[in-house]
């Protein structure tokens, strides 16, 4: 390699283009990327193991925290598997509410993605505008579930919060606003010259490669692979919803942007249907603490692609095994493929284009005992003492602010 005058540049684990720690080591020749080496695992928190040591009810909140953006995806996927093992008949109203929250989550995730994509190509205005409009859906989520992220709406056997009639009005109003804004963003993404310059022809992956490399979600759909769990393997209330699976044949980042934006319009359609046809009835059934032995695989179309949970129960109140496969892990190989022979300048947007979520991917620091976690606190105190000393020498005394042991 030396004679070809390549040099390696580290992107990550900490880098402005990355919102989460992951390490790409790029072999460059000039501005051209010759090879990519990916190192994942910086976000490994031992969640799969931790699930085995907690009760099913606690696990619902734990898997919800696998990821901040697709929290509903993971918790729904998990409770579906547990409900299947326990043979629970979830009330229809609960399924509709799950669908509703799922689509709201997709909207907020896709708008977030559009903003991040704008930022990665140096178009911060798009970031500011989409994130401003994303607040609309965040407020709706907070109103429905009680929080902006980590909604905590799922429980085993149904949902925890009901929807009031006045909420529905607010939702429909918000959908009208968002639909108008989304149409504007479609115009921006498909007409603004500099955006098209940066997006089209970048990060190409052909249909065959997308299938071969196991790409999922919008990444696959932008290469013409019509993979969508909502249609292929319907869960919650999706079997009763009328929507289209959006595909595109540009095969590049531009296609992925278009797919996500058009999916937003489908999401508004699904939301209008689900609040319009919301059945009456209870929102949850009582779930037993001990789940009978059995196993189930649950699939879910998260905003980033297929999310899969495998749960094995052994008759106690704790699962025997929980396996989580988040969408980004399936797309990592595709990224590697997409980056080859591209320019360094394209790296951020290509990586961002799969909407990576490395927290999801890595899941699993270890499940250390709560009390042993104290070491961190002491370090923090040491650091604090040190900084107070440092400033004292320079004539500023911070020690009166808060007590130090």
């Amino acid at each position: 390699m030396a004679e070809e005058k390549e040099f390696r540049i580290p992107i990550g684990p900490q880098h402005p283009a990355l919102k989460e720690p992951v390490s790409f080591s790029l072999a460059l020749r000039g501005e051209k990327i010759m090879g990519v080496d990916v190192r994942l695992g910086y976000n490994h928190r031992g969640i799969e193991k931790a699930c085995e040591e907690r009760t099913y009810l606690q696990d619902v909140y734990l898997v919800e925290r696998i990821c901040g953006i697709c929290s509903h995806s993971h918790s729904t996927c998990f409770v579906q598997a547990v409900e299947e093992i326990a043979g629970l008949e979830v009330p229809k109203r609960a399924l509709y509410i799950r669908t509703l929250v799922a689509e709201l989550e997709r909207i907020h995730s896709h708008l977030l993605w559009l903003g991040v994509a704008g930022h990665e190509i140096g178009f911060d205005t798009l970031l500011m505008f989409t994130w401003r409009d994303r607040e609309v859906v965040m407020d709706i989520l907070a109103m429905l579930t009680g929080n902006r992220v980590n909604y905590g709406i799922n429980t085993i056997g149904g949902v925890r919060r009901d929807i009031r009639a006045e909420d529905i009005k607010e939702i429909l109003k918000a959908m009208d606003i968002l639909e108008e804004r989304t149409k504007y963003y479609i115009e921006v993404a498909t007409q603004e010259t500099t955006v098209i310059q940066r997006l089209s022809g970048v990060g190409i992956i052909s249909k065959e490669d997308a299938i071969k490399l196991g790409a999922v979600g919008p990444t696959a759909r932008a290469s013409g692979v019509a993979r969508d769990i909502r249609r292929d393997d319907p869960y919650a209330a999706y079997a009763e919803m009328d929507f289209n699976v959006i595909t595109d044949d540009h095969n590049d980042v531009y296609g992925r942007a278009v797919v996500r934006l058009k999916e937003l319009l489908e999401s508004y359609k699904i939301i209008r249907q689900s609040v319009g046809n919301l059945p009456e009835g209870p929102i949850a059934v009582r779930a037993p603490r001990k789940i009978p032995a059995g196993e189930a695989v649950s699939r879910y179309e998260a905003p980033r692609g297929e999310d899969m949970h495998y749960v094995k129960a052994n008759g106690t109140d704790r699962p025997e095994r929980v396996k989580v496969r988040a969408p980004t892990l399936a797309n990592v190989q595709a990224v590697r493929h997409m980056l080859r022979d591209r320019y360094l300048a394209d790296m951020p947007i290509v990586v961002a284009a799969i909407d990576p979520c490395f927290s999801c991917t890595d899941r699993l620091v270890s499940i250390r005992d709560m009390d042993k976690g104290r070491t961190d606190v002491i370090e923090w105190q040491d650091l604090r003492d040190y900084s107070i000393e440092w400033y004292k020498k320079r004539g500023v005394d911070f020690s009166r602010m808060g007590k130090i042991k």
Partner: protein, 156 residues
């Protein structure tokens, strides 16, 4: 006959030893158990003749004296075929399936790190997901593994 039953029939016709090992747990969910010796031919057949074009994940389980492995294959019709096999714990050797699915690399590396299964034929690359200074012979997903090891290591 539903699509699931059709697949079940075709598998049972092709492999006589699978006759009573296939269960349809619910719509679109097939589970089958196969010994490691016959695994590769069943796996190959499912991909090449039954159109299971995607490997959704590989789950590794600690089942006492052996490791259980579940290959979750998905078809475009939304049907999931879960092929269950097992390998002994004292000789945990496995052949890679990256030849069929390049994306399996990450799933297999995960089993190498978390369960201590020796996967033969993996392409060169970084380990995943544990850190490079992780103590050897510590496999967190094995039953009975305790995180104390890590605390001791830090105190040293």
């Amino acid at each position: 006959m539903s699509e699931e039953e059709n697949i079940k029939q075709r598998l049972a016709d092709r492999f006589s030893f699978l006759a009573d090992k296939i269960t349809i747990k619910r719509a679109r969910r097939l589970f089958l158990e196969v010994s490691m010796d016959n695994f590769s031919e069943v796996f190959d057949h499912a991909i090449k003749s039954l159109d299971f074009s995607m490997l959704s994940a590989i789950s590794g389980l600690d089942e006492g004296d052996k490791f259980g492995l579940i290959y979750h294959l998905a078809s475009d019709a939304g049907i999931m075929l879960n092929i269950k096999t097992s390998i002994p714990k004292d000789a945990p050797i496995l052949q890679t399936v990256t030849g069929y699915f390049p994306s399996a690399e990450m799933y297999e590396r995960e089993m190498v790190d978390l369960l201590g299964i020796n996967v033969k034929g993996l392409p060169e690359g970084n380990r995943y997901p544990l850190p490079d200074d992780w103590p050897a012979d510590q496999y967190p997903l094995r039953k009975g593994w305790k995180s104390d090891v890590l605390d001791n290591k830090e105190n040293k």
